[in-house]
């Protein structure tokens, strides 16, 4: 695990977007357990290249008028139990970080793996996300 001092700005870069950070299994279960509505789970990471593009991409995507009802994040490699528990809600998908899951009523409807982030700019990643928001999130829903 990395020093928390180093990770803190990466946590804040996401949480200041209005994305709720889940740091325990209980918090994950409370947020994802009901399996209702549209939920975005951002699996944060220290990786400088991929996460360095994924966080700005998330920021751009969340300016879109159509967004998931719940915005959640866990930090892979740091909050190990919470990240593992969150991943259990999209267990068909191999773990990678950063990654982004979009769920609707408990089912994964869109998944952005690390390999879909690597080497791409934030704008391109955000465009993929907002296309998924338009497809799966009702227009009146604003988190």
């Amino acid at each position: 695990m990395y020093n928390e001092m180093m990770v803190k700005p990466m946590r804040e870069e996401v949480s200041r977007l209005g994305v709720r950070e889940l740091r325990s299994v209980a918090e994950v279960d409370a947020a994802l357990g009901p399996g209702e509505g549209t939920v975005l789970v951002f699996v944060n990471s220290v990786c400088g290249c991929a996460a360095g593009a994924a966080r700005p991409a998330l920021s751009l995507a969340l300016r879109h008028p159509v967004r998931p009802q719940q915005l959640l994040t866990v930090f892979a490699g740091q909050d190990l139990d919470a990240a593992a528990r969150a991943r259990s809600y999209f267990a068909d998908y191999q773990p990678s970080s950063p990654s982004i899951a979009l769920l609707r009523d408990g089912e994964v409807v869109h998944f952005v793996h690390r390999h879909m982030i690597e080497g791409r700019g934030p704008e391109a990643i955000a465009a993929d996300l907002t296309a998924a928001f338009d497809r799966y999130c009702p227009k009146q829903e604003v988190a």
Binding site: C47, C49, Q94, P95, H113, H115, E118, G119, R120
Partner: protein
């Protein structure tokens, strides 16, 4: 493609497909190529001798569901390592002809 690691090759840190002269496909995060070969991390391997799924279907599944890591580190000897392509851009040579 944007280069995120100054001083490294453009593919450094990117998930790639390496086509082996043995017929195997190696999918993993590219680190570097040295005179000893190609270094990959977090690798999945398709070997048609042991996997019934076609290369195309296997790659398609990896793209959708991600990479189930079989080897955390692989050094592919230069004689094994052939074409290197980003996972997201890989097409079989047969399909591209």
């Amino acid at each position: 493609m944007t280069v995120f690691h100054p001083g490294h090759e453009a593919l450094h840190g990117v998930t790639v497909v390496v086509e082996g002269s043995s017929g195997r496909l190696w999918v993993g995060r590219y680190h570097e190529t040295t005179e000893r070969g190609v270094v990959l991390h977090d690798v999945a391997i398709h070997d048609s001798a042991t996997v019934s799924e076609s290369r195309e279907r296997w790659i398609e599944r990896l793209r959708k569901f991600g990479i189930k890591v079989e080897e955390p580190f692989v050094l592919l000897p230069a004689k094994e390592a052939g074409r290197i392509t980003r996972l997201t851009e890989w097409r079989s040579l047969a399909a591209s002809k």
